[in-house]
């Protein structure tokens, strides 16, 4: 039992932060909700699959469950941005370096907005590839789709983001000029 908990703790320490980041990007920000869903995913793993699942599979299992939870959340509250999230964000302690913090926030916001413009499956595939560095086969395993679909989704996501990025750069350049 103790060694199982130790293994679980190691898995948690390794993947909880990246799962939070993945969910935060998938949900378009909403860090508190992302943390809740990451916790729920780990809790489900601990309750149901831990001990029966091969250790190598646990990571994919986690991302699959986390994604499903996020999709449920889209369905539940697609149009409303939870008041609680806003309150938490407003109550976040002030930055040590306001300028730097402002820049980081702006950049984060930009990435999130661009990601939000993608369909959910493209967004998931791209995030799993770029942030989690999963192979196409592994992404297919998480998303329960074929490798060729993953390949197409990632390419389309990149092409779409590139187009938006270039458009934005032109707009910013024009306004500066």
């Amino acid at each position: 039992m103790a060694s199982e908990d130790e293994e679980f703790t190691m898995l948690f320490q390794d993947f909880y932060p990246s799962l939070c980041r993945f969910l935060e990007c998938l949900l378009g920000g909403r860090a508190p909700l992302a943390q809740d869903l990451a916790q729920e995913s780990f809790l489900q793993l601990h309750r149901t699959a831990w001990g029966t699942l091969p250790l190598g599979e646990a990571r994919f299992w986690l991302y699959r469950v986390a994604r499903n939870l996020a999709i449920n959340e889209f369905r539940k509250s697609n149009t409303r941005y939870r008041l609680f999230d806003r309150v938490v964000e407003a109550m976040r302690p002030a930055a040590r370096n306001p300028e730097q913090e402002y820049e980081t926030r702006e950049r984060k916001q930009l990435v999130l907005e661009m990601l939000q413009s993608l369909p959910e499956d493209q967004r998931t595939a791209l995030l799993l590839r770029e942030q989690e560095q999963l192979s196409y086969r592994e992404i297919g395993e998480v998303m329960k789709v074929s490798e060729s679909k993953v390949k197409v989704d990632i390419f389309r996501a990149r092409a779409s983001l590139r187009e938006r990025w270039n458009k934005r750069a032109k707009t910013v350049g024009a306004s500066v000029g």
């Binding site: 039992m1 939070c20 935060e24 990007c25 860090a31 780990f42 984060k108 770029e130 390949k151 590139r162």
Partner: protein, 298 residues
Amino acid sequence: MSCSFTEKVSLLIDGELGPQEVREVERHLLSCVECEQLRADFLNLRSEIVGFESSLEPLVQNRELKKILSRGERRAVVRWGWSTPAIAFASLLIVGAIIGFIRYQISTPQDPKHTAVVQTPIQTPEQTPEPTPEPTPTPETPKRANPPAQQKKPIIRDPKPGEQFAAVRPAPTPEEPMRSADSETLTAIHFEKAETLLRAFRNVRLNEPGTRAEVAYERKRARQLVYQNMILRREADIAGDVQIASLLENLEPILLDIANLPDKPASDDVRVIRERVERKNIVALLQVNSTVLARALD
């Protein structure tokens, strides 16, 4: 993007091409400005997405891990301990039934000359007519939608010679479920024990000699109290005693957390439990409730 290599550029930066294809695409990149720009843009996008910083704080992470592990352990304990409270509860029911039967036997009149039964009508509060003076009913009085059911008249007759009747008790009225005095006594004692345990746990000094033995002792006591707590909580739930049930419900996770502490608990583990005890003000609640119960029993 008119070039036919664009999709392969995406595969190239993901390392999803075979060695021969890699060479082919890289050769193409040397001659195609459009694809070279595409690769640069894709890599820029990658660095933007990878550079996204999560808002997660390390403290939150540790707290979440503890929550998950403690919930898992709690479930394990409950599953393991399920049969024990079930058996104990069943035993209590049997004992209660025996006591009830004995009381029934004692309260039954033993006089053989007991000859008649007068069964009085049971008047529940709804059926009791208000003593308000009513005007004499006239034939025009409108009928009620649901006229009250007429009560059966009690059968009153003289006993026949030598006839004996069984003692017929009035039909039981639908009363509020009540907790027995025994159960309340047990609850009061349980509250006192839990209060003592929590006070002692609050005073455990970590990093001092003898701490381990002290924690082991508190853990053992907590384990004993957990089962009693489950039984009493269930009884209180059944009896509809919301206040006691709620207090027992709040107490249970704390007892479980103490019972599941490791041999050498980290100071953080102990601190988290203590904080919860403080936050829920559970010691004071236990004290008040045990006093109230004890007074009621006096």
